[in-house]
Protein backbone atom coordinates (compact mmCIF):
# COMPACT_ATOMS: atom_id res chain seq x y z
CA UNK A 1 0.00 0.00 0.00
CA UNK A 2 2.84 2.32 0.97
CA UNK A 3 6.08 2.66 -0.96
CA UNK A 4 8.70 -0.02 -0.16
CA UNK A 5 10.91 2.22 2.03
CA UNK A 6 7.89 3.30 4.06
CA UNK A 7 6.66 -0.30 4.37
CA UNK A 8 10.11 -1.37 5.57
CA UNK A 9 10.08 1.39 8.20
CA UNK A 10 6.60 0.45 9.45
CA UNK A 11 7.69 -3.21 9.72
CA UNK A 12 10.94 -2.31 11.50
CA UNK A 13 9.13 -0.12 14.05
CA UNK A 14 7.11 -3.15 15.13
CA UNK A 15 10.20 -4.57 16.86
CA UNK A 16 9.58 -1.96 19.56
CA UNK A 17 7.68 -3.36 22.55
CA UNK A 18 4.02 -2.33 22.68
CA UNK A 19 4.00 -1.09 19.09
CA UNK A 20 1.40 -2.77 16.85
CA UNK A 21 0.72 -2.19 13.16
CA UNK A 22 -1.39 0.94 13.71
CA UNK A 23 1.09 2.67 16.03
CA UNK A 24 3.99 1.71 13.77
CA UNK A 25 2.20 3.35 10.85
CA UNK A 26 1.44 6.46 12.90
CA UNK A 27 5.07 6.68 14.02
CA UNK A 28 6.45 6.24 10.51
CA UNK A 29 4.15 8.89 9.04
CA UNK A 30 4.85 11.27 11.91
CA UNK A 31 8.60 10.97 11.39
CA UNK A 32 8.40 11.41 7.62
CA UNK A 33 5.85 14.21 7.62
CA UNK A 34 7.07 16.18 10.58
CA UNK A 35 10.37 15.06 12.06
CA UNK A 36 12.95 13.84 9.55
CA UNK A 37 15.73 15.19 11.73
CA UNK A 38 14.44 13.15 14.67
CA UNK A 39 14.38 10.07 12.44
CA UNK A 40 18.02 10.59 11.47
CA UNK A 41 19.05 11.16 15.09
CA UNK A 42 17.17 8.03 16.15
CA UNK A 43 18.77 5.97 13.37
CA UNK A 44 22.23 7.04 14.53
CA UNK A 45 21.50 6.48 18.23
CA UNK A 46 20.12 3.00 17.51
CA UNK A 47 23.13 2.02 15.43
CA UNK A 48 25.56 3.36 18.00
CA UNK A 49 23.87 1.72 20.96
CA UNK A 50 23.30 -1.63 19.24
CA UNK A 51 26.95 -1.74 18.27
CA UNK A 52 28.70 -0.32 21.30
CA UNK A 53 26.62 -1.07 24.41
CA UNK A 54 27.78 -4.24 26.13
CA UNK A 55 27.79 -5.44 29.71
CA UNK A 56 29.77 -4.20 32.68
CA UNK A 57 32.49 -6.75 33.45
CA UNK A 58 31.73 -6.49 37.12
CA UNK A 59 27.95 -6.15 37.54
CA UNK A 60 26.62 -7.16 34.09
CA UNK A 61 24.63 -3.91 33.73
CA UNK A 62 24.38 -2.37 30.26
CA UNK A 63 27.21 0.04 29.47
CA UNK A 64 29.55 0.86 26.60
CA UNK A 65 32.53 1.12 28.97
CA UNK A 66 34.31 -2.02 30.23
CA UNK A 67 33.08 -1.24 33.77
CA UNK A 68 29.91 0.79 34.39
CA UNK A 69 29.74 4.19 36.10
CA UNK A 70 28.24 2.82 39.33
CA UNK A 71 30.93 0.14 39.73
CA UNK A 72 33.61 2.75 38.97
CA UNK A 73 32.24 5.24 41.52
CA UNK A 74 34.54 5.17 44.59
CA UNK A 75 31.79 6.68 46.76
CA UNK A 76 29.60 3.58 46.39
CA UNK A 77 30.04 1.01 49.18
CA UNK A 78 31.73 -2.06 47.77
CA UNK A 79 30.65 -4.12 50.78
CA UNK A 80 26.94 -4.00 49.89
CA UNK A 81 25.66 -5.70 46.75
CA UNK A 82 22.08 -5.55 45.51
CA UNK A 83 21.03 -8.33 43.14
CA UNK A 84 18.38 -7.32 40.60
CA UNK A 85 16.91 -8.90 37.48
CA UNK A 86 17.22 -6.11 34.92
CA UNK A 87 18.88 -2.75 34.18
CA UNK A 88 15.44 -1.14 34.57
CA UNK A 89 15.44 -2.32 38.22
CA UNK A 90 18.80 -0.59 38.78
CA UNK A 91 17.32 2.57 37.37
CA UNK A 92 14.20 2.36 39.55
CA UNK A 93 16.32 1.94 42.71
CA UNK A 94 18.70 4.73 41.70
CA UNK A 95 15.78 7.06 41.01
CA UNK A 96 14.29 6.25 44.43
CA UNK A 97 17.64 7.37 45.88
CA UNK A 98 19.09 6.35 49.22
CA UNK A 99 20.88 3.15 48.22
CA UNK A 100 24.64 3.64 48.30
CA UNK A 101 25.92 0.13 47.57
CA UNK A 102 26.59 -1.54 44.24
CA UNK A 103 24.56 -3.83 42.00
CA UNK A 104 24.67 -7.16 40.28
CA UNK A 105 22.31 -7.48 37.30
CA UNK A 106 21.19 -11.03 36.52
CA UNK A 107 19.66 -10.04 33.16
CA UNK A 108 16.82 -12.45 33.85
CA UNK A 109 15.88 -15.05 36.43
CA UNK A 110 16.21 -18.78 36.85
CA UNK A 111 13.66 -20.50 34.65
CA UNK A 112 14.35 -24.21 34.07
CA UNK A 113 11.31 -24.42 31.77
CA UNK A 114 12.93 -21.94 29.37
CA UNK A 115 16.33 -23.54 29.82
CA UNK A 116 17.71 -20.62 31.83
CA UNK A 117 20.11 -22.01 34.41
CA UNK A 118 22.53 -20.46 36.95
CA UNK A 119 25.27 -19.78 34.41
CA UNK A 120 22.92 -17.94 32.05
CA UNK A 121 22.22 -15.34 34.72
CA UNK A 122 25.89 -15.05 35.72
CA UNK A 123 25.67 -16.72 39.13
CA UNK A 124 29.21 -18.12 38.76
CA UNK A 125 30.50 -14.59 38.34
CA UNK A 126 28.36 -13.35 41.23
CA UNK A 127 29.84 -15.99 43.52
CA UNK A 128 33.41 -15.07 42.52
CA UNK A 129 32.59 -11.40 43.11
CA UNK A 130 31.19 -12.08 46.59
CA UNK A 131 34.16 -14.27 47.53
CA UNK A 132 36.91 -12.03 46.20
CA UNK A 133 35.78 -8.42 46.51
CA UNK A 134 34.94 -8.04 50.19
CA UNK A 135 31.15 -8.11 49.84
CA UNK A 136 29.59 -8.23 53.33
CA UNK A 137 25.89 -7.99 52.56
CA UNK A 138 23.88 -9.22 49.60
CA UNK A 139 20.41 -7.68 49.19
CA UNK A 140 18.13 -9.83 47.08
CA UNK A 141 15.89 -7.53 45.05
CA UNK A 142 14.59 -9.97 42.43
CA UNK A 143 10.91 -9.56 41.55
CA UNK A 144 8.27 -11.05 43.86
CA UNK A 145 7.16 -13.45 41.12
CA UNK A 146 7.47 -17.24 41.17
CA UNK A 147 10.73 -17.12 39.16
CA UNK A 148 12.12 -14.15 41.08
CA UNK A 149 11.42 -15.86 44.41
CA UNK A 150 12.96 -19.11 43.20
CA UNK A 151 16.05 -17.20 42.07
CA UNK A 152 16.28 -15.50 45.47
CA UNK A 153 16.06 -18.85 47.28
CA UNK A 154 18.68 -20.36 44.99
CA UNK A 155 21.00 -17.44 45.70
CA UNK A 156 20.46 -17.76 49.45
CA UNK A 157 21.62 -21.38 49.26
CA UNK A 158 24.48 -20.58 46.91
CA UNK A 159 26.00 -17.75 48.94
CA UNK A 160 25.25 -19.05 52.44
CA UNK A 161 28.56 -20.95 52.50
CA UNK A 162 30.50 -17.74 51.89
CA UNK A 163 29.49 -16.31 55.26
CA UNK A 164 27.93 -13.22 53.69
CA UNK A 165 24.88 -11.48 55.23
CA UNK A 166 21.86 -12.07 53.04
CA UNK A 167 18.63 -10.09 53.01
CA UNK A 168 15.49 -9.83 50.87
CA UNK A 169 13.77 -6.49 50.24
CA UNK A 170 10.43 -6.13 52.05
CA UNK A 171 7.19 -6.92 50.28
CA UNK A 172 3.87 -5.60 51.49
CA UNK A 173 1.33 -2.82 51.10
CA UNK A 174 2.82 -0.03 48.93
CA UNK A 175 3.03 3.45 50.49
CA UNK A 176 0.01 5.52 49.59
CA UNK A 177 -1.79 2.30 48.67
CA UNK A 178 -5.19 1.61 50.16
CA UNK A 179 -5.69 -1.75 51.87
CA UNK A 180 -9.03 -2.03 50.14
CA UNK A 181 -7.38 -2.19 46.72
CA UNK A 182 -4.35 -4.31 47.57
CA UNK A 183 -4.54 -7.91 46.34
CA UNK A 184 -4.91 -10.76 48.81
CA UNK A 185 -1.44 -12.25 48.29
CA UNK A 186 0.27 -8.96 49.03
CA UNK A 187 -1.93 -8.43 52.06
CA UNK A 188 -1.12 -11.90 53.47
CA UNK A 189 2.55 -11.21 52.78
CA UNK A 190 2.27 -7.93 54.67
CA UNK A 191 0.76 -9.73 57.66
CA UNK A 192 3.32 -12.51 57.80
CA UNK A 193 6.14 -9.99 57.39
CA UNK A 194 4.86 -7.64 60.13
CA UNK A 195 7.49 -5.88 62.27
CA UNK A 196 7.22 -5.12 65.99
CA UNK A 197 6.49 -1.51 66.94
CA UNK A 198 6.82 0.19 70.30
CA UNK A 199 6.73 3.69 71.75
Amino acid sequence: MFSPALEALVDALRCLPGVGPKSAQRMALHLLERDREGAQVLALALGEAAERVGRCQRCRNLTEAPVCAICEDPRREAAVLCVVETPADVLAIEQAGGYRGRYFVLMGHLSPIDGIGPEDIGLDRLQTLVQEQGVEEVILATNPTAEGEATAWYLTDLLAADGVRMSRIAHGVPLGGELEYVDGNTLMHAFSGRLPVSR
Copy 2:
Protein backbone atom coordinates in the same frame (compact mmCIF):
# COMPACT_ATOMS: atom_id res chain seq x y z
CA MET B 1 22.01 7.24 35.28
CA PHE B 2 22.55 5.10 32.18
CA SER B 3 25.66 5.10 30.03
CA PRO B 4 25.85 7.92 27.44
CA ALA B 5 24.99 5.75 24.41
CA LEU B 6 21.94 4.36 26.22
CA GLU B 7 20.87 7.85 27.37
CA ALA B 8 21.19 9.09 23.79
CA LEU B 9 19.01 6.23 22.57
CA VAL B 10 16.33 6.86 25.22
CA ASP B 11 16.28 10.57 24.28
CA ALA B 12 16.11 9.82 20.56
CA LEU B 13 13.20 7.39 21.01
CA ARG B 14 11.16 10.22 22.50
CA CYS B 15 10.80 11.77 19.06
CA LEU B 16 8.27 9.00 18.34
CA PRO B 17 4.65 10.12 18.86
CA GLY B 18 3.09 8.84 22.09
CA VAL B 19 6.42 7.77 23.56
CA GLY B 20 7.23 9.35 26.93
CA PRO B 21 10.32 8.89 29.09
CA LYS B 22 9.17 5.59 30.63
CA SER B 23 8.24 3.93 27.32
CA ALA B 24 11.43 5.21 25.70
CA GLN B 25 13.43 3.58 28.49
CA ARG B 26 11.50 0.34 28.16
CA MET B 27 12.01 0.31 24.38
CA ALA B 28 15.74 1.02 24.65
CA LEU B 29 16.28 -1.72 27.22
CA HIS B 30 14.17 -4.17 25.26
CA LEU B 31 16.19 -3.59 22.09
CA LEU B 32 19.54 -3.86 23.85
CA GLU B 33 18.67 -6.83 26.03
CA ARG B 34 16.65 -8.82 23.55
CA ASP B 35 16.61 -7.54 20.00
CA ARG B 36 19.88 -6.01 18.79
CA GLU B 37 19.20 -7.24 15.30
CA GLY B 38 15.84 -5.47 15.33
CA ALA B 39 17.60 -2.30 16.46
CA GLN B 40 20.05 -2.49 13.56
CA VAL B 41 17.25 -3.16 11.08
CA LEU B 42 15.26 -0.24 12.48
CA ALA B 43 18.30 2.06 12.31
CA LEU B 44 18.78 1.21 8.65
CA ALA B 45 15.08 1.52 7.76
CA LEU B 46 14.89 4.92 9.48
CA GLY B 47 17.97 6.23 7.70
CA GLU B 48 16.77 4.94 4.33
CA ALA B 49 13.25 6.29 4.69
CA ALA B 50 14.31 9.68 6.08
CA GLU B 51 16.71 10.12 3.21
CA ARG B 52 14.81 8.68 0.26
CA VAL B 53 11.08 9.12 0.85
CA GLY B 54 9.78 12.28 -0.76
CA ARG B 55 6.46 13.34 -2.24
CA CYS B 56 4.71 12.10 -5.34
CA GLN B 57 4.98 14.79 -8.01
CA ARG B 58 1.36 14.29 -8.91
CA CYS B 59 -0.57 13.65 -5.69
CA ARG B 60 1.90 14.75 -2.97
CA ASN B 61 1.62 11.39 -1.18
CA LEU B 62 4.76 9.99 0.46
CA THR B 63 6.85 7.83 -1.88
CA GLU B 64 10.48 7.35 -2.80
CA ALA B 65 9.62 7.20 -6.51
CA PRO B 66 9.00 10.39 -8.53
CA VAL B 67 5.36 9.34 -8.96
CA CYS B 68 3.61 7.04 -6.44
CA ALA B 69 2.24 3.57 -7.19
CA ILE B 70 -1.41 4.67 -7.14
CA CYS B 71 -0.82 7.51 -9.62
CA GLU B 72 1.20 5.13 -11.83
CA ASP B 73 -1.50 2.45 -11.80
CA PRO B 74 -3.31 2.59 -15.19
CA ARG B 75 -6.32 0.76 -13.71
CA ARG B 76 -7.17 3.69 -11.43
CA GLU B 77 -9.70 6.14 -12.89
CA ALA B 78 -7.92 9.39 -13.68
CA ALA B 79 -11.24 11.22 -13.88
CA VAL B 80 -12.02 10.87 -10.15
CA LEU B 81 -9.84 12.60 -7.59
CA CYS B 82 -10.24 12.24 -3.82
CA VAL B 83 -8.73 15.06 -1.73
CA VAL B 84 -7.49 13.98 1.72
CA GLU B 85 -5.42 15.61 4.43
CA THR B 86 -2.75 12.97 5.11
CA PRO B 87 -1.15 9.76 3.77
CA ALA B 88 -2.82 7.90 6.64
CA ASP B 89 -6.19 8.90 5.16
CA VAL B 90 -5.17 7.40 1.80
CA LEU B 91 -4.27 4.19 3.58
CA ALA B 92 -7.57 4.07 5.49
CA ILE B 93 -9.55 4.51 2.24
CA GLU B 94 -7.42 1.95 0.40
CA GLN B 95 -7.88 -0.55 3.21
CA ALA B 96 -11.63 -0.02 3.15
CA GLY B 97 -11.43 -0.96 -0.55
CA GLY B 98 -13.89 -0.01 -3.26
CA TYR B 99 -12.50 3.36 -4.27
CA ARG B 100 -10.98 3.17 -7.77
CA GLY B 101 -10.02 6.77 -8.42
CA ARG B 102 -6.86 8.65 -7.53
CA TYR B 103 -5.90 10.90 -4.63
CA PHE B 104 -4.55 14.28 -3.85
CA VAL B 105 -2.88 14.58 -0.44
CA LEU B 106 -2.92 18.07 1.07
CA MET B 107 -0.44 17.13 3.84
CA GLY B 108 -2.42 19.29 6.23
CA HIS B 109 -5.35 21.67 6.09
CA LEU B 110 -5.89 25.41 5.77
CA SER B 111 -5.11 27.03 9.09
CA PRO B 112 -4.57 30.81 8.89
CA ILE B 113 -3.79 30.92 12.63
CA ASP B 114 -0.76 28.67 12.07
CA GLY B 115 0.16 30.52 8.89
CA ILE B 116 -0.86 27.60 6.63
CA GLY B 117 -2.29 29.04 3.45
CA PRO B 118 -3.46 27.56 0.11
CA GLU B 119 0.06 27.22 -1.30
CA ASP B 120 1.35 25.30 1.73
CA ILE B 121 -1.17 22.53 1.11
CA GLY B 122 -0.50 22.47 -2.64
CA LEU B 123 -3.80 23.95 -3.83
CA ASP B 124 -2.09 25.62 -6.80
CA ARG B 125 -0.88 22.22 -7.95
CA LEU B 126 -4.31 20.68 -7.29
CA GLN B 127 -5.95 23.32 -9.49
CA THR B 128 -3.47 22.72 -12.32
CA LEU B 129 -4.06 18.98 -12.00
CA VAL B 130 -7.84 19.39 -12.21
CA GLN B 131 -7.60 21.75 -15.19
CA GLU B 132 -5.05 19.77 -17.19
CA GLN B 133 -5.56 16.09 -16.50
CA GLY B 134 -9.21 15.48 -17.32
CA VAL B 135 -10.52 15.28 -13.75
CA GLU B 136 -14.34 15.13 -13.84
CA GLU B 137 -15.18 14.64 -10.16
CA VAL B 138 -13.43 15.84 -7.04
CA ILE B 139 -14.42 14.08 -3.80
CA LEU B 140 -13.63 16.16 -0.73
CA ALA B 141 -12.59 13.80 2.06
CA THR B 142 -10.95 16.25 4.45
CA ASN B 143 -11.68 15.61 8.12
CA PRO B 144 -15.01 16.80 9.59
CA THR B 145 -13.17 19.26 11.86
CA ALA B 146 -13.37 23.06 11.74
CA GLU B 147 -10.16 23.26 9.67
CA GLY B 148 -11.09 20.31 7.46
CA GLU B 149 -14.52 21.79 6.74
CA ALA B 150 -13.03 25.20 6.01
CA THR B 151 -10.56 23.57 3.62
CA ALA B 152 -13.41 21.73 1.89
CA TRP B 153 -15.37 24.98 1.48
CA TYR B 154 -12.33 26.78 0.15
CA LEU B 155 -11.77 24.00 -2.38
CA THR B 156 -15.39 24.11 -3.48
CA ASP B 157 -15.00 27.81 -4.30
CA LEU B 158 -11.61 27.33 -5.91
CA LEU B 159 -12.62 24.54 -8.28
CA ALA B 160 -16.19 25.64 -9.04
CA ALA B 161 -14.99 27.75 -11.95
CA ASP B 162 -13.37 24.72 -13.60
CA GLY B 163 -16.73 23.07 -14.18
CA VAL B 164 -15.73 19.95 -12.27
CA ARG B 165 -18.28 17.91 -10.27
CA MET B 166 -17.61 18.36 -6.54
CA SER B 167 -18.81 16.14 -3.69
CA ARG B 168 -18.18 15.79 0.02
CA ILE B 169 -18.08 12.35 1.66
CA ALA B 170 -21.11 11.67 3.89
CA HIS B 171 -20.96 12.30 7.62
CA GLY B 172 -23.36 10.67 10.02
CA VAL B 173 -23.90 7.75 12.34
CA PRO B 174 -21.09 5.20 11.80
CA LEU B 175 -22.10 1.67 10.78
CA GLY B 176 -22.45 -0.57 13.79
CA GLY B 177 -22.64 2.54 15.98
CA GLU B 178 -25.54 2.93 18.37
CA LEU B 179 -27.55 6.16 18.24
CA GLU B 180 -27.44 6.28 22.02
CA TYR B 181 -23.67 6.72 22.03
CA VAL B 182 -23.28 9.02 19.03
CA ASP B 183 -22.53 12.66 19.89
CA GLY B 184 -25.14 15.36 19.26
CA ASN B 185 -23.28 17.11 16.43
CA THR B 186 -22.95 13.91 14.45
CA LEU B 187 -26.61 13.09 15.08
CA MET B 188 -27.77 16.52 13.89
CA HIS B 189 -25.53 16.12 10.85
CA ALA B 190 -27.09 12.74 10.15
CA PHE B 191 -30.57 14.30 10.29
CA SER B 192 -29.81 17.24 8.04
CA GLY B 193 -28.04 14.94 5.57
CA ARG B 194 -30.89 12.41 5.45
CA LEU B 195 -31.57 10.75 2.09
CA PRO B 196 -34.96 9.80 0.66
CA VAL B 197 -35.87 6.11 0.76
CA SER B 198 -38.62 4.30 -1.03
CA ARG B 199 -39.75 0.76 -1.77
